[in-house]
Symmetry: none
Subunit: 114 residues, 2 copies
DNA sequence: TATATTTGCATAGTATATTTAGCAATTTTG
DNA sequence: CAAAATTGCTAAATATACTATGCAAATATA
């Protein structure tokens, strides 16, 4: 059983968005979003995934993969990858589970002093 | 209204295959294949398209596009850049202090279960 | 030619994606 | 504190993907 819902929920909360705010931006009903985040939907349509990926700032293909759809393979050139610098380099390679935890922790950080 | 059915039919016939032969290879029912070829299905699932693309020897992405699904674009450096920065993009803009905290927390995560 | 097999397709049924409506708990506001 | 708004969620309704069954026309075989 694939668990993409937890990931979607962590993404949304890390951005401080409510289900209804996401609904406004994506035209996906808040009720359906809730079902997605609790893994009640096996395979949401690519179009739905595309909208969410856009709003949350992640790659469409990543959601496709999480949901279990075939994803076209491309040439990931490791050399070029290594030449690029930035935050992700400072963090290094992180796993999917770690990313969820970091998103969660970021939410905690930002709501700490209120 | 998108016309991908005609394309699928032309592909199948060019290979001299019957609906039932395609069914055997892809596990998609011949009845459904018939509906696909006459555009009675708006958006067949990516998995179905993937099977057909494989058998017919065309690109999966091409069928995705024909059907009207969003298709990830692969062929530029921006793409690779996005992959590398995927994490920071999903996290959004984070401050220097936040980055330090995240790095610290990541270290904590990785030393936790030992 | 007669009959058996194959072929594409139509129809009905099942599974599942997505929306609408509404409710209980929480949060906001005065 | 009390009323009002907001939030996440559930259940029922609807839309649509996909399959099982079967049939009429075409084709193969004798």
């Amino acid at each position: 059983m694939i668990n993409y819902g937890e990931y979607l929920k962590a993404l949304r909360q890390s951005k401080g968005l409510t289900l209804r705010e996401v609904e406004k931006e994506t035209n996906v009903s808040n009720a359906y979003l809730s079902q997605l985040e609790s893994n009640k939907i096996k395979q949401p349509s690519p179009t739905t995934l595309y909208k969410l990926a856009g709003l949350y700032g992640i790659k469409y293909e990543k959601l496709m993969e999480k949901v279990g759809y075939p994803v076209p393979k491309y040439n990931n050139n490791l050399k070029i990858k290594e030449e690029v610098y930035g935050l992700s380099k400072s963090l290094g390679d992180i796993s999917y589970d770690e990313e969820i935890e970091l998103l969660d922790y970021l939410k905690f950080i930002r709501n700490r002093k209120k």
